[in-house]
């Protein structure tokens, strides 16, 4: 067993035993149960709704149906996942430095990037395990309760949803680790991370809206063509927010009938039969979203690497 495994082992066991993680896991499990309960009680009407092209996908319905009292699980995750990642990563480097353990650690014959990678992958392994087991529990419970066979397409869509959620957590985790390198005080890095998260979930849409309203012409005076173009532009600006990317990606994966993330003109709709897309087509639609999330994660990690590798570490 080499150094990186020892480091990851330690990270994972540290997190699992920590109060912080227990609180987070309770939070996630409660949200999951609540949204599942709501969707289970509305499942009958959702599956029986002949207007809906997705009605045959029972397990996707189980994840997405809601009576509007609470949002479905993937919307919840949109803002819970960053919180989870920030809570697990905000003090990864600076608490070691303040505790005097970082100097000791890097005086051992290990590469520094191993340490960084362990700090990133430890929490990610835990989150991945948590999400996968929750979703598998849901599938098993659904099988037991309804007795309906799961379609292979559904299974892959749900697995895809789990993978995208893990990538999304990975992005926030990389950001939190980066901030924990940049700031000496854990409180500062936590606040900054939460600030960024709040900005993207709450203020970013508002700011974009304000700017758009003052800059772009009124939609009533626009030709249809330019309206579509402007709409596309607004959506693309909104997609600068990782939360938007995540919502786009999961919505498409979990609702097979969603054909496009942008506006569709009447010409494009002519002759289209409202039917679910194949898995391949859905993945093609979300591919840009997934790769942008991955790219953002990489960028955060690369900056952390750059900042941390040659830094002099002392108390």
């Amino acid at each position: 067993m080499n150094a990186i495994h020892v480091l990851i082992n330690k990270e994972v066991s540290d997190h699992i035993r920590s109060w912080r993680f227990i609180i987070l896991i309770v939070l996630i499990v409660l949200t999951f149960t609540a949204s599942l309960y709501v969707s289970a009680s509305n499942l009958k009407s959702a599956v029986g709704n002949m207007q809906d092209p997705d009605q045959t996908f029972l397990y996707l319905k189980l994840l997405t149906t809601t009576d509007n009292s609470i949002p479905p699980f993937h919307i919840f995750l949109n803002f819970l996942a960053p919180l989870l990642a920030i809570a697990l990563g905000f003090d990864s480097i600076n608490s070691e430095q303040n505790g005097g353990t970082l100097t000791r650690l890097i005086a051992q014959p290990i590469y520094r990037d191993n340490l960084l990678f362990a700090k990133f992958s430890g929490p990610l392994i835990i989150v991945a395990t948590l999400f996968t087991s929750l979703v598998l529990l849901m599938l098993g419970g659904g099988l037991l309760l309804t007795g309906v066979r799961i379609e292979i397409q559904e299974l892959f869509r749900i697995l895809g949803f789990v993978i995208i959620s893990i990538i999304y957590v990975g992005f926030w985790l990389a950001l939190a680790v980066l901030l924990s390198i940049c700031f000496k005080q854990p409180a500062t890095s936590a606040l900054t991370a939460i600030g960024i998260w709040l900005f993207f979930t709450v203020f970013f849409p508002i700011v974009v809206n304000l700017v758009i309203r003052s800059v772009l012409p009124h939609p009533n005076f626009l030709a249809e063509e330019s309206l579509v173009r402007y709409n596309e532009l607004i959506l693309n600006i909104l997609r600068l927010s990782p939360g938007q990317l995540y919502t786009d990606a999961t919505t498409v994966l979990l609702s097979p009938s969603v054909r496009s993330l942008g506006p569709i003109t009447m010409e494009q709709m002519v002759g289209a039969i409202p039917a679910p897309l194949s898995l391949r087509n859905s993945i093609l639609i979300v591919w840009p979203q997934v790769s942008s999330l991955l790219a953002a994660t990489m960028v955060c990690f690369a900056i952390s690497y750059y900042v941390f590798m040659r830094r002099e570490i002392r108390q």
Partner: protein
């Protein structure tokens, strides 16, 4: 036994315009206990970090265990145990868990690590606390656990940064004895940084005095004292019972004696610097002059004087090069 294990050549580190370490040349032989002595902020820690490859030198090379520390830090760190000042442990883990974790980072198997952990805990006298969480440890215990952690990888060199800081006197004694024993029994090379001269003096074979990023002198304590004493001559201080009526005349009389360099009379105290030991002649002369002598002391130089001489004046202006040997001229300049 007598080959260099740490070789620093023209090592320098600049932080912007500040020279933290300036042209450091130092050789430490295997099996030696070397004390790096200097006030806070003298550049001791920076030098140590460069030896371990934890920071890059601006100029010069550090060769440790015949490896270049800047290029091959991993290989150096395999052979060097480093105990930083203000050492910290994972508070939620027990002493033995902390040790095993570090041992496993050094590619030691779990069973071997557990055995060694027990062994080193016994060695530093912490067996009773091996299953206690380190969060409850006192400063002295942490320091000893730090030593245990350094020893668990069986290093060739121990580098200890201010290891005695914050431990009570009896703890310091124990710690230093342990170090000495380790060095003698296992042939470990020890590099110790400190600003406590008396502690360093007790166990170090050689010391280097480090001020303002420069190594001012280097040598065994005997060498340093004899150099200082040899250059500075003798000082006789005399206390009078009552003030002499004509102090100026008294001063002139003493100055007339052979080999007297300097005379200071301040009310009841007379201090005379001479190049040779002529205390009896001085006393005889004073008695002839009718001085009422209360006591006579011949001053010898001890380590405190060495320490003060080098530490009190920062060298930036008065020194133009940092030689490894005591320069006679320099000491004379400083004492006058």
């Amino acid at each position: 036994m007598n080959y260099p294990i740490i070789e620093l050549k023209e090592l320098s580190k600049n932080y912007g315009s500040l020279k933290a370490v300036d042209n450091l040349n130092l050789t430490i032989n295997k099996g030696e206990i070397f004390g790096l002595l200097g006030p806070n902020g003298a550049g001791k820690t920076t030098s140590i970090l460069m030896m371990l490859g934890l920071t890059e030198p601006s100029h010069g090379t550090a060769i440790v265990c015949s490896e270049n520390s800047t290029r091959n830090p991993i290989r150096v760190k395999r052979k060097v145990g480093y105990l930083p000042d203000n050492v910290g442990f994972y508070n939620h883990m027990t002493a033995i868990e902390n040790l095993i974790f570090i041992a496993r980072l050094n590619d030691i198997s779990y069973n071997e690590a557990a055995n060694r952990a027990l062994e080193v805990l016994k060695r530093v006298g912490l067996t009773h606390a091996s299953h206690k969480k380190t969060g409850t440890f006192s400063r002295g215990m942490k320091q000893r656990l730090g030593l245990a952690e350094v020893l668990i990888k069986k290093p060739e060199i121990l580098i200890l940064d201010e290891p005695t800081l914050g431990i009570d006197p009896s703890g310091v004694n124990e710690f230093l004895n342990l170090l000495k024993q380790l060095s003698r029994e296992e042939g470990l090379t020890v590099l110790l940084s400190s600003h406590h001269l008396h502690q360093v003096q007790r166990i170090c074979d050689r010391i280097g005095i480090f001020v303002g990023g420069r190594l001012l002198v280097e040598g065994s304590i005997q060498e340093l004292t004899s150099e200082l004493l040899g250059n500075n001559g003798y000082t006789t201080s005399i206390q009078l019972q009552e003030a002499h009526p004509t102090p100026q005349q008294l001063k002139n009389t003493i100055e007339a004696l052979p080999s007297v360099a300097r005379v200071n009379i301040h009310e009841l105290d007379i201090e005379i610097s001479t190049t040779e030991n002529i205390t009896p002649q001085i006393v005889r002369k004073l008695v002839e002059e009718g001085a009422a002598i209360g006591s006579v002391n011949q001053k010898t130089y001890n380590l405190d004087d060495i320490y003060e001489k080098y530490f009190e004046n920062t060298p930036s202006h008065s020194l133009n090069d940092s030689k490894n040997k005591i320069s006679k001229k320099r000491i004379n300049e400083r004492s006058n």
